[in-house]
């Protein structure tokens, strides 16, 4: 084994300086750090992110989701390449719920974003594989801060449209873009109504070749479906467009709408509110996660919960009475209730 110089940031200051200078290896190491499960790494990561915070926040954070096969990678490749041509620096982070498992995994295939992956002005990082979606969300939120501090001015957060991951991503971005397909017959393609409600811009992709007419038909159906939903902002009604990631048509129009959305939020003062609200929601989400985890591991409570489970199994109590009893056995709720 050859002895080589180790140019790895190890101290907080090295991390901070490297990220702020936009050095690629430092950014990569910092993201590994915020993803790390080790307690000492997490402490260092908290400190780092806190110090980077003043340098972040300037980028446009855009979430992109769509069912598998909606052409997300090709779309992002095309969009990202165009943004680079306009002088933007683009980072792509991915949240892949299928990576949340205990064994090893095959990480997102970067070769599907070939042009972007080979451009030194872009940075692509697939999903971390942590133990829970919450863990992935924590890492990705902090990842956004890191790439923003490194000077990237567009952050695309990609997620596949299954499970809870769209909601997770929608809660960390300014604009949420939903990619749909025109081909599958059913205009809503089994995508949950809830996802449609999260969308700020909707684009029907693969509007190319034989798909063009189907795509525009799907777009008008979607447009009427969207009209029935209550808008998230009184000042913004999600537009429905068609585009082709493969041919590159309509991509610019989609981006115009994405920018218009953010511009509207900014003008109306909603952007800052939205980001603050996201942070507050996130704080409570963390509190909830921690409390639940603490409760589940609390020895006395676990024993009591076990007894109540037996009673439930014997149909000797109801779920709501069991919950009352369980809460009553906790001092901090019990005191209140007694008084």
């Amino acid at each position: 084994m050859t002895a080589t110089r180790r140019v790895r940031p190890t101290t907080l200051e090295e991390f901070r300086a490297g990220v702020l200078a936009g050095e690629r290896p430092a950014v990569a190491r910092a993201i590994t750090l915020v993803e790390s499960q080790r307690a000492d790494h997490q402490r260092l990561a908290q400190e780092l992110v806190t110090q980077l915070l003043p340098h972040s926040g300037r980028a446009h954070r855009v979430g992109i989701t769509g069912v598998p096969g909606a052409g997300k990678s090709t779309f992002i490749d095309e969009l990202g390449t165009r943004l680079l041509e306009r002088g933007k620096r683009v980072a792509v982070l991915a949240v892949d719920p299928s990576s949340v498992r205990s064994g090893g995994s095959i990480l997102g295939d970067k070769t599907r974003m070939e042009r972007l992956a080979s451009d030194p002005r872009a940075y692509i990082r697939p999903s971390p594989t942590a133990g829970s979606l919450g863990g992935v969300a924590r890492a990705t939120r902090q990842g956004i801060i890191v790439v923003e501090a490194a000077g990237f001015d567009v952050v695309l957060v990609e997620t596949v449209g299954v499970g809870q991951s769209e909601t997770t991503v929608a809660q960390m971005v300014d604009t949420f873009l939903l990619l749909m397909l025109g081909r599958t017959g059913d205009s809503l393609q089994g995508i949950k109504r809830g996802v449609l409600e999260l969308a700020d811009v909707i684009a029907v992709n693969k509007a190319d070749g034989h798909g063009a007419s189907e795509a525009s038909r799907a777009a008008s159906e979607l447009a009427s479906a969207v009209r029935l939903l209550e808008p998230q902002s009184p000042h913004w009604r999600p537009p429905v467009l068609t585009c082709s990631g493969l041919e590159g048509s309509g991509i610019d129009d989609v981006w115009v709408q994405v920018e218009a959305h953010r511009h509207t939020l900014e003008q109306r003062g909603e952007l800052e509110d939205k980001r603050v609200r996201q942070e507050v929601d996130w704080m409570w989400a963390l509190v909830k996660e921690r409390i639940e985890s603490e409760l589940r591991h609390h020895p006395a409570l676990r024993a009591r919960a076990e007894q109540l489970t037996q009673k439930l199994r014997a149909h000797a109590t109801t779920a709501s009475r069991a919950a009352d009893e369980l809460l009553a056995s906790l001092d901090w709720f019990g005191n209140d209730r007694d008084s």
């Binding site: 140019v7 993803e35 790390s36 790494h41 064994g103 095959i106 070769t111 992956a117």
Partner: protein, 672 residues
């Protein structure tokens, strides 16, 4: 003539008892430069070889000029580099085109190489209807197994169809393509998969020719008669013989029932063979000579299913590219079988055998069901784009490797009887392996520069514009390609012009969702070690598996990626055809712990050098560890270690869990 021939005698059309003519003997050859390959061809022809089989280097196959940065490490490595018509003049010097049967293993750039051949004939004054041979030109198996595709499936099939349309009347003795099941077996296909995938491929091609409507029925029947196949023959030679009979019968049925081909001659299953390379071993390599002999029996014993042309690998192919002597030894096998034995004196030996009949019927039945499934998906293009066929192959390969690993499948000298006396065949000065001449590339580059300087730039520009226009409008591209050839357009320029119009294609890697069936203590121990490594690192150890350079034989890399995931690594599989820079960049950006590079084309030293230099300049050398896998001779392995590569894996490292353990060792040591 007056006596009726007995059942064990062959009679010709006039009723005379005769001996069969042997198949065409080929040797797959070409290396270093046009001049060196020309000398090799001429000496092979003098040795009694009866057809040429040209190996092109990877830049030529993938449509790059020799001086393109991605091409440089590969120039002349696995075949001859051809940049322009000037190189073709050198390659065929002293070889009469009108007398040759020339097979070109060329796919993504098949139209270009045939255009060069036609242009060469024109400049020599040879009428092109005298040309005979084959362009391999099967892109389906390139997407699935071999990797030298350039354009997306639709466009690739259009090119193939246009070549059939051109050749049918202009070069009637030319096989515009060769439907290949050979490479599918190399990628792990079972006999049934070989049958089904190849026949579904042929059906999709014929469907396309019909749909394009350029042929009337008489022409279409002749076009069916031009479809030929390139098949593999493995070590289970009885089953392989039955597979060949099943192929003949199925093809006869499909062409008759699906396409209404009346003329029996056009329904005949015509095929050439190279016997299996996948099963050739690095350990006790002399045993491969027997394997090659046995595999040859599978495709020659049965007269009704005998190959039309045969090329044999060499005994040392798992060690390096073969030397001329190694190829000559294989050629001698063919000559002994054809001329010393009595094989060619008898009609089919197996007609009427209930065993053979039953086996053939079984293969046909399962294959038919699989063909139906692919056609239900919409034919081979959707089956490729959706990853259906690729996943099936990766699964078969993983099962094969699992079976060898747990001993269910015996491989002599590999997992049984592994102790043996040292082989004197490896004792020569060259260690029994081929050494490429490193100076050969510079000659090629000089010739390329000379061609570029001497040509008429206006004519080059004009001919490329015409080519692009034909590509855009959907009009035939062949004549425009011949004009490009005559204008001294280069291989890279031709391919780039079409890339501009068609784009480049990346097929699904097929490894998503694949599982190894391997279990047991070894796997559990490794998983435990990786779990504790995860605690040390704070993240699950991440490795990048990739193939730098142009070599597209991805099976090995895919099995490694699937195995690594199986034991608990996070794996980034970046697929084929990446520059060393792209691999380094991905490794740094995704902050991996280790790069596993797989190279089978012989350019491992150059590529290792590029990767290590890249890591050094991004400050990641030492932190990101590197291992290499491939056909890497011992002397080269030492060079790689000196460059800073931690481990080298060769075909003798077939134990997947050993490889995984080594990788864990390397990462652990780096964090000790």
């Amino acid at each position: 003539m007056n006596t009726r021939p007995l059942p064990h005698q062959i009679q010709d059309a006039s009723g005379d008892v005769v001996r069969d003519r042997p198949w065409i003997f080929r040797t797959y050859a070409g290396h270093s430069s046009a001049r060196a390959s020309n000398q090799l061809f001429r000496s092979n022809l003098e040795q009694g070889q009866t057809g040429l089989s040209i190996a092109f280097d990877l830049p030529t196959q993938c449509g790059y000029d020799s001086d393109d940065p991605i091409a440089r490490p590969e120039v002349g490595k696995v075949g001859v580099p051809i940049n322009s018509l000037d190189d073709f003049h050198v390659l065929f010097e002293g070889i009469p085109l009108e007398k040759m049967n020339t097979s070109m293993t060329i796919n993504g750039t098949a139209m270009w190489l045939l255009a060069l051949y036609v242009a060469l004939a024109r400049e020599r004054g040879v009428s092109i209807d005298q040309l005979a041979g084959t362009t391999q030109n099967d892109l389906v198996k390139e997407y699935l197994a071999r990797g030298t595709y350039i354009f997306p499936p639709q466009e690739s099939l259009r090119i193939i169809a246009e070549m059939y349309e051109y050749c049918l009347d202009e070069i009637p003795k030319w096989n515009a393509s060769n439907i290949c099941s050979y490479h599918l077996q190399e990628a792990g296909a079972t006999p049934v998969q070989e049958l089904a995938f190849a026949l579904a491929n042929a059906v999709s091609l014929l469907d396309l020719l019909q749909a394009r409507g350029r042929f009337d029925h008489e022409q279409f029947e002749r076009a069916v008669g031009r479809i030929s196949f390139f098949v593999n023959a493995g070590i289970r030679f009885v089953e392989e013989m039955c597979k060949m009979r099943a192929f003949s019968e199925l093809w006869n049925e499909i062409t008759r029932d699906r396409y209404g081909v009346q003329n029996e001659r056009f329904r005949r299953f015509r095929y050439g063979v190279q016997v299996n390379s996948l099963g050739l071993t690095e350990g006790q390599p002399e045993n491969n000579a027997w394997r090659i002999l046995i595999e040859t029996l599978g495709i020659t014993l049965s007269r009704n299913a005998r190959c039309r042309a045969l090329q044999l690998p060499a005994w040392n192919e798992a060690l390096s590219l073969p030397r001329p002597w190694d190829q000559q030894w294989s050629l001698r096998l063919q000559q002994i079988l054809a001329y010393e034995t009595d094989l060619l004196e008898y009609p089919d030996l197996f007609d009427g055998s209930p065993v053979v009949q039953s086996k053939v019927a079984e293969l046909k039945q399962i294959a038919r069901a699989e063909i139906e499934r692919i056609l239900e998906l919409g034919g081979v293009i959707p089956a490729i784009e959706s990853g259906y066929m690729k996943s099936a192959l990766v699964k078969s390969m993983s099962e094969r490797m699992s079976a060898i690993n747990d001993g269910a499948q015996i491989v002599v000298g590999v997992n049984r009887w592994t102790e043996g006396l040292p082989s004197p065949l490896l004792a020569g000065d060259d260690g029994g392996v081929f050494k490429a001449d490193p100076a050969a590339a510079s000659e090629t580059l000089e010739n390329l520069a000379r061609t570029r300087k001497a040509r008429d730039p206006e004519r080059v520009k004009r001919s490329l514009e015409q080519l692009k226009e034909a590509a855009r409008k959907g009009t035939p591209m062949f004549e425009a390609s011949v004009e490009c050839a005559l204008a001294r357009v280069t291989t890279g320029e031709w391919a780039n012009a079409l890339r501009e119009v068609f784009g480049e294609y990346r097929p699904p890697t097929g490894i998503d969702g694949q599982r190894l069936s391997l279990g047991g203590d070894r796997v559990e121990q490794l998983r435990a070690r990786i779990a504790s490594l995860t605690d040390t690192l704070g993240h699950r150890p991440r490795i990048l598996v990739g193939k730098p350079g142009l070599d597209g034989h991805s099976n090995g890399a895919e099995v490694i990626a699937v195995s690594a995931r199986h034991v608990g690594f996070d794996v980034i599989y970046s697929g084929i055809r990446l520059t060393a820079d792209a691999i380094v960049r991905a490794a740094v950006e995704e902050d991996v712990d280790l790069i596993g590079a797989s190279v089978l084309s012989g350019s491992h030293v150059e590529l290792a050098h590029q990767i290590m230099t890249g890591l050094e300049s991004s400050g990641a050398k030492g932190r990101i560890r590197v291992v290499f896998g491939g056909i890497i001779p011992k002397q080269d392995a030492e060079k790689l270690i000196q460059l800073g590569v931690d481990r080298i894996f060769t075909p003798s490292d077939y134990e997947l869990m050993d490889i995984m353990e080594s990788i864990v060792d390397v990462i652990e040591a780096a964090h000790a």
